[in-house]
Structures are given as structure tokens and as C-alpha cells.
Amino acid sequence: MTEQAFFVLAALADQPRHGYGIVGEVADLSEGRVRLRVGTLYGVLDRLVGDGLAEADREEVLDGRLRRYYRLTRQGRDALAGEAARQAANVRVATKRLRAWRPGPAGGAV
């Protein structure tokens, strides 16, 4: 799962959101690190909908413009949970190693 897909699924985890809402939520969740352009967002959304991980929730008309909301499917929730567990396991391993790390002598091999 790409980082972009991961964050889009995470953005949909608490409530259905429309496209612009997803862009803002992903920027918040990643602390501004992941800024989705519209072409990138819909490339990810298309793939998630095609794979059954997300689906359309409802459509609303705002200022004469159609807004489509997306929600996570059960399969999407499982995929996100699986990926989160995998990343958490990676973090645990790296953190454990970092705790054991001791700086070597300056300029030489450890």
C-alpha cells in the first residue's frame, strides 16, 4: 500500500469525506508532509474504489456544484488496520534497536 493510499484510507476512517475534505485531512494527518494534488487524489481514489476499499457515500449539491462523499468499506477498514499493524511492528523493531544503540568512537568503526 502506498503512503498516499494509506493516508486517504485513514482520512476516511472516522467519517465520510468529499474530495477537498480528504485533501485537507491528509495534510493534517501527515502534518503537512503529504499534499495531494487533484490528479493524484483521484488516481488513488479510483484504485481504492476499484479494489473495493472505498465507495461513494452520498452526493450533495453546494453552490450549484455536485459534491460526492466517500466512505471506507469493511474491506478498506481491514486493509487499513493491517497496514497500521505492519507499520507499528516496524516502528517497534526500529525503536528497540535505537534504544540499544551506543555512539562509537569519533571517526572510527564501531
Binding site: T2, H18, G19, Y20, G39, D46, D51, E55, R65
Partner: protein
């Protein structure tokens, strides 16, 4: 509709029509929500004079390439185009890799055959630099996309430098052929970079890996044969490419009935793309022969051979092209996100 929206919709025309049908309204709404400021005066100005930024355009372009050269899970129409582009690019890169290996082999063989002969200078350097195509080809076949892109870019740059040096050394002769060869190289690099995208299906590596040594041996044999003292050489690179393509198209026509599965239709389209490249190269080299070999010993025979190769290639590939595009699956996009269009 504001000017900004009109401009953005123009950018979205890069996407396949079937995809736009499903997603365009939503993409426009999302884009405008982020592009138009809250302040009414600024909003009015942006709506009239604003343009989609480069980053937005590039993201749509990237999406268009991935969709039009689709990989696993993509509609059949785009999968065929993606697979065809992969095969056409790999075939061109294979030719460069084979030529590079054959060139180095000749470089090593000539001093053995003719003791005392030292092959150095421009031709020796060009032969060694050509090995970067071998590395690029192997990286692509083995699935190292980023490395392959880097090596292909480097190889293209080296080819441009050696071609430029050859044209300067030759006093400008055959510059058209050199430019045409570079354009074919550039086509292969762009096609490979686009077709081997993140979602692209990997190619079966074994046949492509086997083709490299087999092709190098075959080309070495041909090079040795045409260097044999005789009436002169009527076979050149574009001629060999035309002959190989004619053989491949005939083989494809014979075995097409047996073609089944996900890759059906990819090779015919790839062969048509390769025919365009080979024909372009053949025509430009032919024009160069007419310009620069007017006083050579056998210009008429050389020109006649080139014309015959081009005509036979067109006659053989024509029916294949008609069949390939008639049987191409229709462009549709199955993942329709509209509410109520899918089972909840």
C-alpha cells in the same frame, strides 16, 4: 462556467473519456474548492484570470499516463496499450543492448583476427559507452524501474554526445540518420518510463533475458558475414531492423490464432508501433544515402534495397495493423464511484 473551470476542464481532457465520465465533475469540484480563495474579490479575480498550477497539471498528466497505459486491474483497452508500449520499448532497448554487446565483441575479436590492429578512438569509445544500454535493459527487465530510468537517461545522453561527435567528425554527413536514430532512442526511453509505471504489470523476464545473448550472437554472425570481402555491403542497421520486423510480423500472423490470455492483442499493437519507428528510420537513412552516397560505388543497389525493405514492411504490417486496431477492446472504465451505482 468561469474561465478557471474552463481551463481546468481543458487539462482534464488528457484523461480517457470513460474516466472523465465517471470522475470529472468531482475532480472539478475538488479543484475549485482548493483553488478559489474565500475573499469574494480575490475569488472573482482568480475565477477569471487564474490557471491550474504546474503541479496540478503534472498530477493529471501522470494520472492520464497511468490510465492510458494501464496495468493489472485496468480495463482491457488500456491494458493492451500498456503491454504494447512495454513490448515496443523493450524491443528497441534490446536492439541497442544487442548492438552494444556485438560491438564490444567485434572490438575484442578484430585484434585477434588481425594481429597488430588496435581499435581505439571514437569507434572504440562508442562501443564501450554503448554498454550502458545493456545495463538499462537488464535493470528494466529485472524490474528495477528507478535504476532503469536513470540508466536510460544516461544512455540517451551518451548516444546524443557520440552521435554529435560522429556528425562533426564526418563534416555533417548523415546527420539526418543520426537524428532519426536519436529520436527512436528517445521514443524507447519515454515509452519505457511511461509504460513501466507503478501499477504496470511486470513482464516475464526469462524470454527477454534469453533474447539478449541470442541476439548478440546472431548480430555478430551477420557482422562477420557482411565484412567478408565481396561485392559490397547492402545490409545496414535499418535494413536489419526491417528484416527482423518483417519476420516478427509474419510469425505473429501465423501464431495469432493461438494467442490467448491477458496478453492477447499486445504484440500486434507493439509491432505496428515498431514498424512506424523502423519506417521512419528507413526513410531518413534512404534520403541520406541519396544525398551523401551519390558518387559511391553502388548507390543504386543500396537505394533499391532500402526501398524494397520499406515497401515489403508496409505490405506485411498493413493487414496486421488493421486487425490489431479492429480487435482492440473498447475503452470503458468499470470503477464508477457514483452513489448507488455499486452494491453497498
Amino acid at each position: 462556467m468561469t474561465e478557471l473551470e474552463r481551463r481546468y476542464r481543458r487539462v482534464l481532457r488528457l484523461l480517457p473519456a470513460s474516466y472523465r465520465q465517471a470522475w470529472e465533475q468531482d475532480m472539478v469540484a475538488t479543484f475549485l474548492a482548493g483553488a478559489v480563495p474565500d475573499d469574494p474579490e480575490d475569488a472573482e479575480f482568480t475565477a477569471e484570470y487564474g490557471r491550474p498550477g504546474w503541479a496540478e497539471v503534472v498530477s493529471v498528466l501522470g494520472l492520464a499516463v497511468r490510465l492510458r497505459l494501464g496495468g493489472a486491474g485496468a480495463p482491457a483497452h488500456f491494458r493492451v496499450w500498456g503491454g504494447a508500449m512495454q513490448r515496443a520499448a523493450l524491443a528497441v532497448l534490446l536492439v541497442y543492448a544487442v548492438n552494444a554487446l556485438a560491438g564490444v565483441r567485434m572490438l575484442l575479436w578484430l585484434p585477434l583476427r588481425f594481429p597488430g590492429l588496435v581499435v581505439l578512438g571514437q569507434s572504440g569509445a562508442a562501443a564501450l559507452l554503448g554498454l550502458s544500454w545493456v545495463a538499462a535493459y537488464l535493470a528494466l527487465v529485472l524490474g528495477h524501474r528507478q535504476l532503469a530510468r536513470l540508466l536510460m537517461g544516461l544512455s540517451l545522453l551518451l548516444s546524443a554526445v557520440t552521435a554529435g561527435a560522429a556528425v562533426v567528425a564526418g563534416g555533417g554527413a548523415y546527420w539526418g540518420s543520426r537524428v532519426a536514430e536519436l529520436l527512436v532512442s528517445a521514443f524507447a526511453v519515454v515509452a519505457a518510463s511511461a509504460a513501466f509505471h507503478r501499477d504496470a504489470e511486470p513482464v516475464r523476464s526469462r524470454p527477454w533475458l534469453t533474447a539478449l545473448p541470442v541476439g548478440a550472437v546472431l548480430v555478430t554472425v551477420v557482422l562477420l558475414l557482411i565484412q567478408h570481402p565481396g561485392d559490397g555491403v547492402l545490409v545496414d542497421g535499418p535494413g536489419l531492423a526491417c528484416a527482423a520486423l518483417i519476420a516478427a510480423v509474419l510469425f505473429q500472423q501465423i501464431t495469432s490464432a493461438a494467442e490467448r490470455g491477458g496478453s492477447a492483442g499486445m504484440w500486434p499493437v507493439a509491432l505496428v508501433l515498431l514498424t512506424f519507428a523502423a519506417l521512419g528510420l528507413r526513410v531518413v537513412t534512404l534520403l541520406d544515402y541519396l544525398t551523401f552516397t551519390a558518387r559511391a560505388s553502388r548507390p543504386n543497389a543500396l537505394v533499391t534495397a532500402a526501398i524494397v525493405e520499406a515497401v515489403v514492411l508496409v505490405l506485411v504490417t498493413g493487414p496486421l495493423a488493421v486487425r490489431a486496431f479492429r480487435t482492440l477492446p473498447r475503452a470503458t472504465h468499470p470503477a464508477d464511484p457514483r452513489a448507488g451505482s455499486r452494491d453497498a
